[in-house]
Symmetry: C2
Subunit: 414 residues, 2 copies
């Protein structure tokens, strides 16, 4: 057997750097990334020794990298636990609060939202303003959203460094890094450069930060997949439905939101559940959102101006029209979600937006329908969960931007 | 900036080996894998220098690894091109033929198939026997399949080393490495240990080789994703429909068949396209295969014993019943496939089995239906392609087994 010279590469091959210097620097970057992501992901705070053990680094290497991240404002030393046995207790590490943050924005048919979220996942400032943005003027709405963004970014204290802003939109956007909204049927917006529409700097320091777009459901799903930057949430594989005027959706596999070839995956609201069903403004017929979207459902229930909570009350009080509408919505959800599970074999369904608020009154029937329509349900029936934060899109937008700090920590050291 | 000690690891961390010896050996394995996969993937044969350039290895390292793979029977030196300029032309490299092979088997409602495929992708032997296996006795059918397997493995010349066998089945199987068929509705089989049912050794040398199972559509899709082991096919992202008595399906993303959490992804045949539609033997109603499965389609066309080719003739001759049945099947395909594209954002649809044979007469209508029902079709209309090898499942089963040679070439050196 021939012998192999010392390590010069591992598969897959990376582009060759200019020499040892470049390799040192990319190794440092990789090691910083590994240490930062290890601390972010930890369920309970790790010490320097814990970081070394988890990453299989030497204690001196791990310690030096932690020091760099603490000095650079990405990690912080937490208070030592009091009275925990003999000897000097190790210093627990946490993600720094308020040092590095992102701006998460959201345009919904019924509200605008803006949040500042830091690397630890804490919300430093948040605002929501209600409104009716169906068929609205993009320039006016985006100007209001920009004002809101400037407001929350000025409120965030202590003033963080902003890594970027992202806008959650209920429609198709171009793939990451995208700045164009192709079509948001329920806002009536299309082919729109949203980043340009937001105009002048959004942060108090007036620096130019990148502004990107994302699909609202994809970003809301991210708040379920990750509770804070780099920290996995309770479920890693799920279908997320975002109940709004219409219905958005996202597929999360192994904790990552599936974007599809062009960034348009997850449009479950436009899955056809009955070809002879009502026309949808997307141009098709019988789309899921024509039964289970908030507007269609409340209209069918005979209470177009009610809230989802009022619909729940009416259903519980035995209102026949409300019950029939909820039944039709549930059957439509059963058809569409069973299709998704048959095709993707994902074990969990998370109902968000108004569907999350209705989960209590539709969950049992939905479970029965799925048991009938999912080929593998006899072996593994799907789990159903709910999520009810309407501004999850804004939070997810900020989380998505903060992922760039985890990907390139060296760039964000103070 | 603190300096970082010499490379001790890259993220993500691997379990620590017992020392430098283990690292050398896993490096050799990684390098053999890289060289083998580079030669397998090459569109035109590479020389040793070409391998070095593609892998960024030194020429001496690449050359030594190629020599090992040639000596071990996985690669081969092809004839030098005649008269190609001054100097001694470089020796082109190819994948060895007939040295290492896998057994691909398939149980279909209408036939049994067995193939021996080698690492170069060449079919060394193949047999198909027709039959009616709907509601058949698993033990009898598996005994016949085992005979067929022994027959083709004895015919393969020169006698290759067999790396494994895999059986393509039209149903749900347990995740890889799985030996249990959970349910094949159209065969009437369930909860069956297929590997045990095949019984004694399948190869002439009588050695015990691993026998695994796979979903027929997943494996057939693999023949589109890869033309030979390690060689990418013409499309990397697609939905595959396998038209049989029923309809199987698979999702291929980035050249890999998506298995889902339990290995059950791709059941497009059981996507509901009309909740008020006919009952399906899966227990649901209005499943795609109740309109576009071969049996349902031919029955609706009033020609239950005809072939797909005869249906095409009848449609072209203007037979009204045949046209109506084809129209209903096409509308059902439109609903189900638009749902898949809306959810997954995959740009290509590949029609296999009888659907591939019908592609010419349904493609235009299907395209129109998809344009209406896919939210993003105005920006990127999906492409439709067809594949018509009925035994693609058997070939895909062999390709899937041969992937283990690419993953661990050192194990398979002669």
């Amino acid at each position: 057997m021939s012998s192999i010279p010392p390590p010069e590469r591992h598969a897959p091959p990376a582009p060759r750097g200019p020499g040892a210097g470049a390799r040192q620097s990319s190794l440092r970057e990789a090691n910083l990334r590994l240490v930062l992501s290890t601390v972010c992901a930890a369920e309970t705070p790790l010490s320097r020794a814990g970081v070394a053990a988890t990453t299989h680094m030497t204690r001196s290497t791990a310690s030096r990298l932690v020091d760099e991240l603490v000095a650079g404002g990405l990690l912080t030393e937490l208070a030592r636990p009091a009275g925990s046995g003999p000897g000097r207790p190790a210093t627990p590490l946490g993600v720094a609060r308020g040092t590095v943050a992102a701006l998460g924005l959201q345009v919904n048919a019924g509200f605008l939202a803006a949040q500042v979220v830091d690397l630890s996942g804490a919300t430093l400032a948040a605002r929501v303003v209600a409104g009716d943005f169906v068929g609205s003027s993009p320039s006016q709405v985006l100007a209001r959203l920009a004002d809101l963004a400037r407001e929350v970014s000025a409120q965030a204290a202590p003033a963080p460094r902003f890594v970027g802003a992202r806008v959650a939109l209920p429609g198709l956007v171009t793939s990451d890094p995208g700045t164009t909204l192709l079509r948001a049927p329920n806002l009536g917006w299309s082919d729109l450069d949203v980043a340009a529409g937001l105009g002048p700097p959004l942060t108090p320091a007036g620096e130019t930060i990148p502004v990107r777009l994302g699909n609202e459901a994809d970003l809301a799903a991210l708040t379920v997949a990750t509770t804070a930057p780099g920290r996995p949430g309770p479920v890693a594989d799920f279908v997320y439905l975002s109940g709004e005027i219409g219905i958005g959706g996202a597929i999360v596999l192994d904790g990552a939101v599936m974007s599809g070839r062009h960034g348009w995956a997850g449009e479950i609201g436009h899955v056809c559940v009955d070809p002879d069903g009502p026309a949808c403004r997307c141009g098709s017929t019988g789309c899921l959102e024509q039964y289970a979207g908030r507007r269609a459902l409340l209209r069918a229930a005979g209470m177009p101006h009610a809230t989802p909570a009022e619909l729940v009350e009416a259903v519980r009080a035995g209102d026949a029209t409300a019950r029939a509408a909820l039944g039709a919505a549930t059957r439509a959800l059963g058809v569409a979600l069973a299709g998704v599970v048959n095709v993707l074999d994902v074990p969990t369904i998370v109902l968000g937006g108004h569907l999350g608020q209705l989960a209590d009154v539709l969950e049992d029937d939905l479970r029965d329908l799925l048991a009938t329509r999912i080929l593998s349900a006899g072996w593994v029936p799907p789990a159903i969960a709910s999520a009810t934060d309407p501004t999850a899109g804004a939070r997810g937008a900020a989380l998505r931007e903060l992922a760039s700090v985890l990907a390139e920590p060296a760039r964000w050291l103070a």
